[in-house]
Each structure stands twice: as C-alpha cells, then as structure tokens.
Symmetry: C3
Subunit: 317 residues, 3 copies
C-alpha cells in the first residue's frame, strides 16, 4: 500500500501524519528522541547531525511557540535555519504555493517544516519536492499535528512504560483538534487498548467512534480509572456562540479540577499541548500539581523534533 | 576614473551597480560563483570564508525572497547574520539613515546588504562606511539590482557559453525595472553584441536606445532568432490605470506563450527573476517547459551572492 | 542582605539592576568587557564561551536596536539565539507570563534577555527560573537598564580612568529614564564623588536628591567644570503637551550646543544612549564633534553584553 511518508524501503522520508505510520517507525522516533533527551540531561544539547543542511520553517499560519521548538531543534542539530512568515511574503505577490516551494528548493533547502491553515497542504508539498528534500507537518488545518502527538507518546511511554495496558482519555474540543486526531492514530498503532474521548456533543466530530475510541460526555464516567488524561486547548473563538454556552459553563462541566481528576487512577498523569487557558479547560491546582507532566512534554518535544529531523535526513525518497 | 565600487588597486570593495564595472571583475565573480555552485553539487554547501564576520541585512524595502537568498548565502559562508527590518525600527524613531549605519558599524558590522526604495541609498552608505566595511546593493529604487543581473549572466554563460555571439531580448516593464538596467550594463560589458528590449511605449524609459539596446514594440519581431529571452515581472500596480489597458490585454501582446517563443531560436533559454505572474507576463507552459531555466537561476543566485560576499571580504577600500 | 542578583557565594547570577550591585561585581564586568573589546580590536570577534547554550531574547516591548546588540553579543559567544517578539505571541493567546517562561525553560533555555514595559517584570522572572537559568534585564519600564549603564561606565573609565575624581552630569528627561536611574546607581557605587542631574522641574522625579545627586535646572551652572556629559534621549511623546512647551523650546534650554558644552571642562566627553534626536536634545556639531564618544559607546556595548553573559553562564544560583 502506498504511503506518502515512506520510501520504497519503508523508511520515513516525510512526517505528515501519524495515521498509517507503522508502529516500528513510531518507536524508532521515540527511541532516537530518548538519545537526544538523555544527552540534553548530561548538558550535551548540541549535535552536528544536520551541519551544512538548510531547514526552512514555513509558517503560513502563525505560531511562535511551535516555530520556536522547531527552530531550537534544528539549531541543536547544527542546521542553518531560515524562518519565513510566508503569509506576508510571496503569496501576497500572487505566487503559487508550489512556485514558492520550488524556489526555496532551488536555494538548496534540505527540509521544510510546514504549518498551514489548510488541511493537506504539507502533503501537496511533499508530493512535489525533489527526492532529497523532506517535509515535516507542523500542523495543517484540522487534520494532523504529528510531532505533537509523537511528543505526547514519548511522554506517556516515559511515565507509564508500554502502551498495551493503558487507558487514555482525551478531553475537550475534539471536533476542531488536529492534535486529538494525531494522538488517536498514534495511540491505536502503539497498541493502547482503550482510548476515550470526553466532550460535549457539539465538540465531537460525527462518527468519531470509527476511529476506535470510546465516547463520553461526562467527566466522572470518562475519567474513571484512566492512566493518562490529555486535556485539549479550547480556542478562544469557541468559548461563546453556537457551540458552547460560556467559558464558565465549560469549566464547570469539562474543566479539569482536582475533584474530577480524583476519578482517574491515583498515579494518572495530566497532559496538555499548551498554551493553557487556566480556569477554562484546566484548574491551576491541577496544571501545577504533582500529576502534571505538562512542562516535561515541552522538553521531550524538542528531543522528538530533533529525532524526526535526524531520521528524515538519513533517508531518501 | 573614480569608481565608487573599486579600491585604488582596482579591486571590488562594494557591489553597487553593474554600470561601469570592468569585465574582469564581472568574470571574477562568475568564476568564483562557479566554484561555489560546483561544491554545492557535491553537497558541500558550507564554507568557513566569513566565519567570525557579521553581515547585516538592511531591508528598508520589504523583500522576503531576496533577503532570504542573502541570508542563506551568508550563512553558507559561516557569517553571523543579522536581518533588520529597518522600516519598523530606528527610522521610525527619527534617527537618520547615516546614524543608523554608523551605529551598526560600531557594533562590528563587516558587511551591509542594503535594499532601499530610494535610488542611490546604497551609494550614500558606501561613501560613509569605514574602509573595512563593505556594501552590497540588493536593489535600490528603479536604479540597480546588480546581484540579480550577475546571476542572470551566470545563467546565460552556463547554458550558452560566451557572450560574444549571443542575441538577448529583455521583455516587459523596462521603465520601472532596476533588474533590466543592471542586465543591460552587464551584457554590454561582457561583450554581448545584440541586446533587445521589447515593451509597449508606455513601459520604456525615454532615450533607452542610448544604453546600446535595440527597441522593439512587437514580440514576433523582437524575439526573432534570439538565444536568450529574459521576462520581467509586471508589478501589480502597473496592471491597470494609465500605463496598461489590462492584464489580459498585456498577456495577449507581451505575455510569453509557446507560439511567441517559437520565433526565438529553437534552443533559446527562458529566464525570469521571479516571482512570476503566471498567465500575465508568462504562460505556465513556457514557465514549466524544457526551455525554462528559471529555477536554475535561483540556485545560481545563491552561488553568485556567496561569491560577491567572499570577494568583497578579501578587499579593503 | 538578600540580593536577587547574587548567589550565596556573592557571584552574579542575574543582571537586573545596578542598584545594590557591589563595586567588585561592576568592575568584574568592566574588566571582562575590556578583554572582549581588545580581542575585537585584533579582529578576534568570535568566542566559543556559550557554544551549545540557548539564549532567548524576550522583547515584550519592541526595540530593534537593543535586541540587535544582545543578538550580536550572544552570537559572538557562539550561543544559539532565539529572538521572540512575545507581544505578538502567547500573551495574545491568554497565557500568563510565567507559563511562557516555564515553557521556554522547558525547551532548554540557558539565559533570558528580557525587555518589558512593566517595571519589575525581569525580577519576577528571575525569581521563578531554575537555578541554572540566568536573566538579563534589557530595560524594564521606568525602572532599570543595567547593561546600558554598564556600557556607559565602561566608556567613562576608558576615557577618564578611575571614577573617584570625576564630575558627571546627566541631562534631560530624568523622570521617565530607566537609563538615568541605572547610571546614577552605578556611578555612586563606583565612587564618583559628584553626580549632577540637569532638567526642567517637570522632567525630574520628586525626591531625586535622595539618590545622592545634585540637581540643576540650568545648563550653564550644571555643566560647569564637568568631566562627563551624558545626554538622555527625549521621547517623542514628551515633546508636546503638559510636560514641555515644544521641541524648539526644549532645545533652546536643554539641547547640548557648542556654547553650552563650553562650560564643561575642555576635555569633557559627551555621551548619548541613542538613538539621537539631532536638533532636539543634541546639536549635530556636538554629536559629531571631537568630544563625542557616542559611537564608541555602541562598540563597548557589545563587549559589555558579552561580558555579562559570559560571567552569568559561569555562576549557578
């Protein structure tokens, strides 16, 4: 079966989505990331893996935080990093997306890190680049955000060991979340036997059960005996209007407070992709509490992005 | 004769314009660029030529694409690169251009890459910097864009060999084009016997013949038997109003379509400085066709900018 | 006495203000800066002191000039530098300042260079970072701008030797100036016997004499026999309205013209933090004259910022 992320030897040449990515590839990334994380612990942050390579950060949709993590990851691998705010550039001059890409390729790009408001844009780019050029999806529309999902998998494995006896709950705006989609695919592939989603009906995509998840509309039932609680960020624009009554109402029903968390296993970990809306989707007591692994997620995120870039650079289409 | 770009030994200390630049200097740049281009082909992109040097990109006029090419070129030479969007900075605080320059010089700048909406601004800067500081004009008003012209010369020489038996046509908005001016001077100096310009009367400067070019208003006649076709970008703001009836009308008369290109020699190459307006000055069939060398231009542009910076760094005023 | 900038061994771990900083620490910074300045004179600009370290420029208040000096200083020490315009980023998404800091810390930050419109923000950050993370205040509200004051001390010592027989006048908008506050503290600590401030009453803070300065409202008397004249920048927004009659009126009374400067010692030096408003707080004849050391200040500023970063990196909380 054709997989646009793998070459004919089954090696990773682009990272576009966790959907359809074989478990050995996921584990290869997590294992490589562990090497980088361990080295950083020993204060060996800098590596020469991408010395002489040019990494282009193409953020058609603004995100300082994610762009920064990729910039740091690439610099720690000694790449030359060029960050372009493409919205303000050539597209304004009427150049097509592919013309922009081909131009940057002609400048000697080795890797594109792409965030785009339209689902599928990184796939389109990956289809058209030269065999020695790699594409990393840094978030496309509502579709996928694979490096976020991978750093979440890293975090879960770090604290909980293997996936095959874990119960994981994802809470919040599943409908609009590319993070949730990528997490569900990764968890399923890695053998997690029970993935739950907890959300009001208005924030769930129709047919979400077909992804292999169990649907809950109530926190008490949904969090019961889970090992991992993944909170999603509630976008400001959802907090009023048709989908939700109000932020206060949302917090009351779906905000993670200590009493709701008490239904999970006592050693359950709490995760969040950031940035957090304290008091809306998560209570500060929980966010800063002993079960929170939200800041380690960020640290692992650098190691995971380094691992992805390092692996891609080894493989040709 | 005094040349503000050369020192007393006749060596290049600033690159401000192709006008008045001796042929041996032009060839020195092209030859050095070939070394860098060949090294890049062997995947040796990174050099230490400018290690420890500070290159400042001063873009008083916004241009992500050109700024990016200089940033890449400087980083490939291992320089520290600082990119400043000056419009938004000190000039807003009422500081004069020369105060800004002297301040950056005092910070240890070794080279300024300057783009400015006013013709002559890089010359003013070059006149006031210290003897060990170099200025590269990255486009000033309607005046000059020497690195673009040099990369075009590189491209022509790469595909066509020497200049002394070539017929070159430059097509489009000659009136507002600093690129066209710089190309004409470079082609003439390098011994090209026949340079043609093809444009409607409203897009030609008065007295353009004095630059040594042949003027055509008709594509069929102008492209007849040429070896090289250089298309110019039509700025959006020209496409309506007094100078041109409409974009569609322009394409009909001056857009490069396969049937118009058929009047050129069968092995003629097609060039464009980018970004292209497909369907306005150039047809997609031609832009993506076998005679197009538009993407190689971009690749050569990195090598040419590296060559310019490397040569400048060797010479003192 | 607890000093938030020093560790238990009395070593510098953050640079937040010159207030309360012991003279040996100030001298340590100036001495280290001299090494870097001397090396730069020998064209040895690049050092490996911070190789593998990550320096984050966090400018919550925009300042291209100051940000650039820190960026250059960090790059000359071989650090990886990430510059964030935080105003446009996470704070817009509702994340708290400390959440942003903790996230960047989790990404492996070794040093934060912080500019913030609110006085005290860098102190808040310094109180919450890990023991191996350092904070440099690059200007907070009206409170402090210690690296500017330190480069001014460097400049004075460079031209005038020791501080214990100097008369220094600071002229202009003392009321709103964090630079003036930091200069006064540094001068006093370094043993300068006479610090004067010269300003209209509307631009002086109440009780300024308690800082140990002599107050003058008249330039002739205030500049009489001083060794050093430090002009302050007059912010545009002060030039009209309640505090000042007009820019022209201000220049007449407090602008540094050659005839006013004649009251200082014949070998007095003239300083300005930049960017200058020529013709408002300083006459061009003086700014460009033989007594001006305004551009050397900029050069020394790079060395001083390198020294601060290098010293901080050696010390743990």
């Amino acid at each position: 079966m054709y997989n646009p992320q793998l070459n004919q030897h089954g090696e990773l040449t682009h990272l576009l989505t966790t959907e359809g990515l074989p478990a050995p590839i996921l584990r290869q990334i997590l294992d490589r990331a562990r090497n980088y994380a361990n080295a950083a612990e020993r204060d060996e942050k800098k590596h020469t893996t991408l010395a002489g390579k040019s990494v282009f950060n193409l953020f058609f949709e603004n995100s300082t935080r994610t762009r920064t993590t990729f910039e740091i990851a690439a610099k720690r691998l000694s790449a030359d990093v060029i960050s372009l705010n493409i919205g303000a550039s050539s597209t304004a001059k009427g150049e097509t997306l592919l013309d922009t890409i081909h131009n940057l390729e002609a400048m000697g790009a080795d890797m594109f890190v792409v965030r785009h408001a339209e689902s599928g844009a990184p796939f389109l780019i990956a289809r058209h680049v030269q065999p020695n050029v790699h594409v990393v999806n840094a978030g496309d529309g509502r579709h996928a955000h694979p490096t976020q999902a991978l750093l979440d998998m890293y975090t879960i494995r770090h604290y909980k060991g293997e996936f095959n006896n874990l119960r994981v709950a994802i809470v919040g705006d599943i409908l609009h979340s590319r993070v949730a989609r990528s997490q569900i695919h990764a968890l399923t592939t890695l053998g997690c036997p029970e993935v739950r989603v907890i959300a009001p009906k208005t924030l769930l995509p129709t047919g979400v059960e077909q992804l292999g998840v169990h649907v809950f509309h109530d926190m008490e039932a949904g969090l019961k005996d889970v090992d991992v609680v993944i909170m999603l960020r509630l976008q400001n624009e959802r907090m009023s209007g048709a989908l939700l009554p109000s932020a206060a109402e949302y917090f009351k029903s779906y905000g993670l407070s200590p009493d709701k968390l008490a239904h999970a296993k006592p050693d359950a970990i709490v995760m969040h992709p950031g940035p957090m809306n304290r008091g809306i989707e998560i209570d500060s007591t929980v966010a800063d509490g002993s079960q929170s692994v939200i800041l380690p997620q960020v640290t692992f995120g650098i190691a995971v992005r380094m691992a992805v870039m390092a692996i891609l650079a080894e493989n040709k289409q």
